[in-house]
């Protein structure tokens, strides 16, 4: 298992993190070491073992369909980097998504 700088760059892109070339090189090396170590999980993860996603076996935790007061627009927008017309102002969006 060896991650190339290009692999790491692709992952950083998926994760929306700007990384420098120097960072890429360091990360690729470190991730290789970590991935080598964690690969051990496959030794015991046989097909007959059920995966656990939640530590506790709770099911059906619901709330009633009741409206409670929301934040005021002022509270909602208080920490926004930029606001316009009671809305969060963000830079132009490049791509249309799902």
């Amino acid at each position: 298992m060896a991650l190339t700088n290009a692999d790491v760059a692709r992952l950083a892109d998926l994760a929306r993190i700007e990384v420098t070339n120097d960072e890429l090189t360091v990360l690729a090396g470190q991730l290789d070491v970590i991935l080598d170590a964690v690969a051990a999980v496959s030794q015991v993860a046989s097909a007959d073992v059920a995966p656990t996603s939640h530590a506790l076996a709770l099911t059906n935790v619901f709330r009633d369909d009741v409206v409670e007061p929301s934040l005021t627009p002022r509270e909602a927008l208080a920490m926004a980097p930029a606001v316009e017309d009671e809305r969060f102002r963000v830079p132009r969006i490049l791509e249309e998504e799902a």
Partner: protein
């Protein structure tokens, strides 16, 4: 602007079979959002219906709305789906500014409803549309693009985000590939979406207003040469937000793909956008590789495991399917197949049903909605349910006719006044003095005058030429300004002449 070559539809059909698939998002009409207690009401002040949960603030946690789960199960039952005995929510990870957490809480490989089918009617034929799944998820916020042309994302300078819609419960209903539709594929797609809309309305789980986005449709289509059993490359067309667009967008895509295939090209698997104004699709951003959503089970929510008892209880609340309901109503009302088809196409079914419910004769109700009121709605350019006259008012007008208080002609006039907001039909008849004149002396005088002015006609009627009475009736009606029942006039004329 459309730049793609298209092929004649019939020519495409001669060479290829279309396979369609539809993904429909239904916004539920629960009072509160999917995972928090903010209101879902439409049209509120921007960012006035948000909280730490739907704003995705650090530390906030989701809690599932029980009513949304109940709606999901009811929808699944109505679509003849199996209901999962145990299923989880999953996170669909991708970055987009309208998503506050940059993951959508959805369901992945464990949908709450799966393997169903529905039967939709088209031209007296019934098609079975297989349903792959219906799952629960949350809606995203709304972006407003500023600085570009006509609010489009392209060329915008910046965008403004309102998260009132973020977290509103959605049910995504996905068909399996629908094969065997032939040339009718676009119409079947339209009928299917119409079916879903009617079914959701009957279930009472959604407002299903396509124009407000509470029912949204993505339409997939691929072509394959006749006789080939593997599926061709499909495109997914988004932004198909009216029944008419469903049909037209698919028809367009079929013609576009046909042109590509016929010229030896390959259809590119991509997302396309439907342009309602120009009636064409255009390619979305082309992606170098398939989007990697990195789904994994949502750790903040525990599994949903509907008990058989709960599902059984919900099953008792499922209304008949629109198809079954139409058949049943048609029989009850004594409509012909053609009459029923027109009623359905004219969006008058619910209105007629409501009119019949207040005691109106079904044929009379059909007549009012399909003629006079459809005419008025068309004139205003609004849908029939927005015409400004309620089923109860139509029923009242018909009751006035049945009571002999007004006639058809006056009734049409009264409906116009109801539409203008003058009040209830009875009130209008009273206020405007529109009631049929029952004053015998006034009516007798009018009859006598008509007989005197038309002695020849009177004579031929007396001689047994009953049809000729029409002239006399017309004269009396004119004299009485229409406020009289024609049958009453006829009887009075006959009585006077045989005296």
């Amino acid at each position: 602007m459309n730049v793609d070559a298209v092929m004649d539809y019939d020519e495409v059909m001669a060479a290829y079979e279309p396979v369609i698939g539809l993904e429909v998002h239904v916004e539920l009409n629960t009072a509160s959002k999917m995972f928090c207690s903010c209101s879902t009401s439409f049209g509120a002040e921007p960012n006035s219906q948000t909280c730490p949960v739907c704003l995705g603030l650090p530390g906030a946690l989701p809690v599932v709305n029980a009513a949304a789960v109940a709606s999901a199960i009811r929808i699944g039952l109505a679509l003849n789906c199996s209901i999962a005995t145990w299923c989880r929510f999953a996170r669909k990870n991708y970055f987009y500014p309208d998503m506050t957490k940059n993951f959508q809480t959805s369901q992945y490989d464990e949908p709450i409803c799966f393997d169903g089918h529905v039967e939709v009617e088209l031209d007296d034929m019934v098609f079975t549309v297989p349903i792959e799944r219906a799952h629960m998820e949350e809606d995203a916020g709304k972006s407003l693009h500023v600085g570009g042309a006509t609010g489009r994302i392209q060329g915008a300078d910046h965008s403004l985000l309102d998260y009132n819609r973020a977290g509103v419960p959605l049910i995504e209903i996905v068909t399996k590939p629908v094969t065997g539709c032939g040339a009718k594929a676009p119409e079947i797609a339209r009928a299917y979406v119409g079916f879903l809309r009617d079914m959701m309305r009957a279930l009472g789980v959604s407002d299903v207003r396509m124009e407000q986005g509470s029912l949204r449709c993505d339409a997939n289509v691929s072509l394959r040469p006749h006789g080939v059993t593997t599926l061709g490359t499909r495109t997914e067309t988004k932004n198909v937000n009216s029944l008419r667009s469903v049909e037209r967008a698919l028809r367009y895509e079929i013609c576009r793909q046909g042109a590509i295939l016929a010229s030896g090209g390959k259809v590119k698997q991509e997302t396309r956008h439907w342009h309602e104004d120009g009636e064409y699709t255009s390619a979305g951003r082309s992606k170098e590789q398939a989007e990697d959503y990195r789904y994994f089970p949502e750790p903040d929510l525990v599994p949903v495991a509907p008990s058989p008892e709960w599902v059984a209880e919900l099953a008792t609340t499922i209304p008949p399917s629109p198809t079954a309901r139409r058949a049943q109503l048609r029989q009850q009302w004594g409509f012909s197949a053609a009459e029923m088809r027109d009623v359905v196409a004219g969006e008058a079914l619910d209105l007629i049903e409501a009119t019949v419910e207040v005691g109106c004769d079904p044929q009379a109700a059909r007549k009012w909605w399909m003629t006079e009121l459809t005419r008025r709605a068309n004139a205003l350019g609004v849908s029939l349910d927005q015409v400004g006259v309620t089923p109860a008012q139509v029923g009242e007008v018909q009751a006035l006719i049945d009571e002999g208080v007004i006639n058809d002609k006056v009734a049409r006039h009264v409906l116009g006044l109801v539409q203008a907001g003058d009040g209830s039909p009875r009130r209008i008849v009273a206020d405007h003095g529109l009631a049929v004149v029952n004053d015998q002396s006034q009516l007798q005088a009018a009859v006598d005058q008509a007989l005197a002015e038309n002695p020849d006609v009177a004579e031929s009627v007396r001689a047994g030429k009953v049809q000729a009475a029409g002239v006399l009736i017309g004269a009396v009606m004119r004299q009485m300004k229409g406020q009289v029942d024609a049958q009453t006039v006829r009887r009075l004329i006959e009585a006077t002449l045989t005296d």
